[in-house]
Amino acid sequence: MAKIFLNLSLVLALTIAVAIGCGEISSAPFNQAASMGSGYLYVSSGSCYGGGVATSAGPANTVSRYDLASGAFVGLVIDYNQLAPGDSPVAIYEYDDDRLLVLVENAGGRRIDLVKKDGSGASTYIINSTALSAVLRSFILLSDFSLLVSKSSAIEKFNSGKARVTMGANPYVNAPAAPCATSTTLISSVTAHSSGKIVYTHAAATPNNRFGVINSTGYSVAGDCLSATAAPTTTALPTRALFHSGGKLLVSYGSTTAASNFIYSYDFNGGTGAVSGATPVFSDGGTIVNGPSSMAEDPATGDVFVANVTSTYNTIERFHFTGNVMTRALTQPFIAYSAQTRCVSDMKVMK
């Protein structure tokens, strides 16, 4: 009997040692979306533009975040209704692991805020009434911590010291000549290629519905406009440009004409700024994409999120983007209509 019990104990001990005790401990997060590696989809609801479509009155004026895998609402980051009257977050950008920048449109006090991601507080980052003198729409934080800001009629730049950078007495990009002209009405978005070249979208009636490429050093002479590309149709208004990690330049177009709501991809030459290879990567006659105001990429998967701000939508869709084709990831919106998705002005995937 003692021998049997000894055998049993030894078997159990060895079994545990082999089955449980062996192997390295290193483990990956099960839910990549919830881990610090992949982060959340941050969504700002503020004054939005979807290509001239009718949008819902009264945006939420909040920045909130959603689970990247399921689209579940996680929480509010900041509610601008609690701050100055008229504040509306129109763009967001990641500043560091703990904070994000928020472009705040308010005719009585346009500014850029630095906001804690956990919602614990916010501070003013830039106030400059001379530079931020018109309706703010979009911005990008460059790798040297300088900022490019669209104020509809021009693009302003602030250096890493938050000082305004001008071209003589003019904004950094102001009224570029042909082929970029005319681009002084509604610069709906601004972004930059890794080469530093600036890409902006301009939403005005044909023939000025286009996107243009400006030299990384700004616009001072005609030659600084490197290229301009007209919208695929006269009724399509470009709302957002996004450089995808796969190398393509994606541009979303919105319109009151249903068939002119689509997303195109382009080949971008980082050396010359030339654009070619226009391809409709998603076009379904305005059924799924309608009034696209913003696009964001999940760098972990390459998926692209698209926000629809047409008043009967207010949804966020998720697309797979492979082989230069965008396919809807789900059979329903990734994030359905809610108070925080009413009139989405911007989205970003951040930690």
Partner: protein, 198 residues
């Protein structure tokens, strides 16, 4: 592999040497058990594997059918629950998992040693929390998985049985309400105590 081979040869030699010491009679058995385990979960949306350590408890009921010479077969059913924690090294991220399962088993015994397989229904829930963040993200999966097991038993006075069992559950189950899937490989080692009924 070498260690596993040593264990198996030890088990087999023990079984052969003591086949006459343990002759299971025909009858039912009912018992409870505790286990610890190592779980590897790989969601289909990721190429990375999350490794959990678990502990759990179970209830098992079954019936022995001896043939001759200490050799026989048995069938049983077990149900239980386990809790697990991701072994990821992080000060800002935590994942805990829980599992409810029930399983049908069939096997063959020779002396103290038994070997068999089963089919298990499992419900897996994983909660992920990260800082700075609020709340948690919950993932739910459910499905059927095949299993294999090996155990070593000791009967005491024909009334009680002590058993050490190593079990491996593996396969893919689907997310609840979604098309996501997760590949699971779970190895548990447990100690069980049974009442025997002739």
């Amino acid at each position: 592999m070498t260690r596993l081979a040593l264990i198996l040869s030890f088990i087999l030699s023990s079984s052969m040497a003591t086949a006459d010491d343990l002759k299971r009679g025909m009858g039912a058995f009912l018992g409870v058990g505790l286990s610890i385990g190592a779980d590897q979960l790989t969601p289909d949306s990721s190429s990375s594997t999350a490794k959990f350590k678990s502990q759990g408890y179970l209830l098992e009921v079954g019936f022995d059918l001896p043939f001759s010479g200490g050799f026989g077969a048995f069938v049983s059913g077990e149900a239980g629950q386990s809790n697990a924690i991701n072994q990821i090294q992080s000060t800002t991220y935590l994942e805990i998992g829980s599992q409810n399962f029930y399983m049908a088993k069939v096997g063959f015994f020779l002396g103290h040693f038994a070997l068999g397989g089963g089919y298990r229904h499992t419900d897996v829930k994983v909660r992920s929390m990260s800082s700075p963040g609020i709340g948690y993200v919950e993932s739910n999966y459910s499905g059927y998985l095949p299993a294999g097991f090996i155990n070593y038993s000791v009967d005491i006075n024909g009334r009680y049985r002590a058993q050490a069992e190593l079990q491996d559950v593996f396969g893919t189950i689907e997310g609840s309400g979604s098309t996501s899937k997760v590949k699971i490989n779970e190895i548990t080692a447990g100690l069980r105590v049974f009442f025997l009924f002739d």
